[in-house]
């Protein structure tokens, strides 16, 4: 076998590998989405690997009769509140870490990361008692407050990295020409940081949208989407809902997340690189 054939063969194997890997990720999503829109007779027909007739009936039932629409509404509200609070707290902290040098900075940074690693059940379970006392139990605000605690470390780290990317001299130039530090922040730093902040907001949204444990524990009637789906579908052996509802549910759950990350995909690897440092 000469060099050129070997070269082509290597390329083929490589692309086969890439194809397999991408297919492994993408096929289950496609399948479950297709099944979510399939007619039961197609789904239960052992001869039909892929359904050929489609309906939105089950997605609709899920949304309306089974109340998924409310779940979506609740999830959105919780996510937005989470973004609002974690940004309100996190942006000043991120700015401080990025622009100031002060004793204890490294310890604080490290402890913020360590706090994120804290297991969620340990935070959520005792929280129930507190929430009952504060009448926060079964409220969207209560869930949002807990979600904020989970997303805050991430927001602080990401915003600090984004702000660090805005050159000090740009801000100093603004201050020389008459702005205060605060003014320079709002007129120079913030606008330049906007794309990164938008990506961070999208990630926070997705995190809150997907979170299930805390939401399930802290709510009863006002459930977020994952909590609701969990209670309807839990346990393949015990779940009362027929299979195709499961797939319709999966579709509703993943749609916003996938769309968001499509728009923010360029930031994904860089963001993880940042949190690593």
């Amino acid at each position: 076998m000469n060099e050129e054939t070997k070269f082509i063969l290597k390329k083929l194997v490589f692309y086969a590998f890439i194809f397999t890997v991408v297919a492994w990720i993408v096929i289950p999503i496609i399948i479950s989405t297709l099944y979510g829109f399939a007619l039961p007779k197609d789904y239960y027909d052992p001869k039909k690997i892929l359904p050929t007739s489609f309906t939105i009936k089950y997605v609709k039932t899920l949304l309306i009769t089974l109340g998924a629409l409310d779940g979506i509404k609740n999830s959105v509200i919780v996510a937005l509140i989470t973004i609002a609070i974690s940004f309100a707290l996190g942006i000043p902290a991120g700015y401080a870490v990025a622009k100031f040098i002060f004793p204890g900075k490294d310890t604080i940074k490290l402890s913020i990361v360590a706090l994120r690693m804290f297991p969620i059940p340990v935070m959520a379970i005792p929280l129930v008692i507190l929430y009952i006392r504060l009448h926060l139990i079964d409220t969207l605000l209560g869930v949002a407050l807990a979600h904020t605690a989970m997303s805050l470390p991430f927001v602080v780290l990401i915003t600090s990295s984004i702000f660090a990317g805005v050159s000090k001299e740009l801000e100093e130039a603004a201050m020389v020409f008459g702005l205060t530090r605060l003014g320079s922040f709002f007129k120079i730093t913030l606008p330049l940081a906007l794309p990164g902040l938008a990506a961070a907001a999208m990630f926070t949204f997705v995190m809150s949208w997907n979170e299930v444990f805390v939401a399930s524990i802290l709510t009863l009637a006002h459930r977020t989407l994952p909590a609701q789906i969990l209670s309807i579908m839990a346990g393949a052996s015990g779940g009362a809902a027929p299979d195709y509802y499961k797939f319709a549910a999966a579709f509703i759950m993943i749609l916003p997340a996938i769309t968001f990350i499509f728009f923010a995909r360029k930031y994904l690897v860089t963001m993880w690189g940042i949190t690593l440092k």
């Binding site: 890439i18 979510g36 690997i49 707290l89 789906i229 393949a236």
Partner: protein, 284 residues
């Protein structure tokens, strides 16, 4: 009013830091209190109640076993993927995007998606039936198929969470300067030697981060198991959840939470101790 400028950063950080401290500190204290007191006195009654429940030991066993199977496999897979993807080729951007899609998918959704793959009328069974490889569907779910449920969970978790490790490893890989590898190439090292002697050692910090992150999260595994197996495969977070929401046993649930926390701390410390990269510690 002139505020001493050196206090400004502390003021800016304080709200966030205090918030986090509260949401971690308070529950921790509350959990310890609920778990270890009865009628205002220190008591090990709850601990006894939990430890005598067979579900607890099953949950402990399954949580650790799942982590032990899933996490190393994920790290190995992620390294292979990252190495494969870290070169120039057509469709690189799309491939990386595709590989990171699972990052956006919740564990509940992932469980549901894999149900569509593995259910009796699911994709895998239909495919195999129609090719003729099997005559009856393979059952992945149901109490009597517990070992298959375990397999289903492993598959679903591998699918969902390898992306996290992949992103960490890829970021670490991209930080390794090309010239280190070129120098090794010039001095005689072939691909596998370069991999062993240059890439993997320099990747150690990323691998360590990934292992810590994934193991800690594996201790809290919940949604995916709940969807695919319910209580057939008990896990620590699931039992805690069940005790709290169904039986309203706050104290027992707190024990479960503390066990998760304890395991996390022990494992985290072990990783840090045994995976020190000496060359990072030294400073000129």
């Amino acid at each position: 009013m002139k505020v001493k400028s050196s206090y400004i950063p502390y003021f800016l950080i304080l709200p966030a830091f205090a918030y986090l401290l509260f949401f971690v500190g308070y529950p921790l204290v509350q959990a310890l209190y609920t778990a270890f007191t009865q009628n205002g006195h220190f008591s090990l009654a709850t601990v006894r109640k939990t430890f005598t429940d067979p579900y607890f030991w099953d949950a402990l066993k399954y949580t650790i076993t799942l982590a032990g199977v899933i996490v190393p496999t994920q790290v190995a897979l992620a390294i292979i993927l990252a190495l494969g993807v870290n070169r120039v080729f057509k469709g690189k951007d799309f491939t990386i995007y595709a590989l990171t899609i699972p990052l956006t998918i919740s564990d509940v959704a992932a469980g549901l998606i894999w149900y569509s793959m593995l259910s009796p009328s699911g994709f895998l069974n239909k495919l195999l039936l129609n090719i003729g490889l099997i005559n009856n569907p393979i059952y992945f779910f149901g109490y009597q198929y517990r070992h298959m449920e375990f397999l289903a969970i492993v598959l679903a978790e591998l699918w969902r969470a390898t992306s996290i490790v992949f992103v960490i490893i890829l970021a670490g890989l991209q930080m390794i300067s090309h010239e280190y590898l070129e120098a090794a190439e010039v001095f005689g090292a072939d691909y596998w030697t370069r991999l062993r002697k240059i890439v993997i050692p320099l990747l150690k910090p990323s691998i360590q981060s990934a292992l810590i992150i994934r193991t800690l999260f594996a201790m809290q595994i919940f949604g995916i198991v709940w969807i695919l197996a319910g209580r057939d495969i008990p896990i620590l977070a699931g039992e805690g959840f069940y005790r709290l929401t169904e039986l309203k046993e706050y104290d027992v649930a707190s024990i479960y939470a503390l066990v998760i926390a304890g395991l996390s701390i022990i494992l985290g410390a072990l990783y840090i101790k045994f995976m020190k990269a000496e060359y990072l510690e030294v400073r000129g």
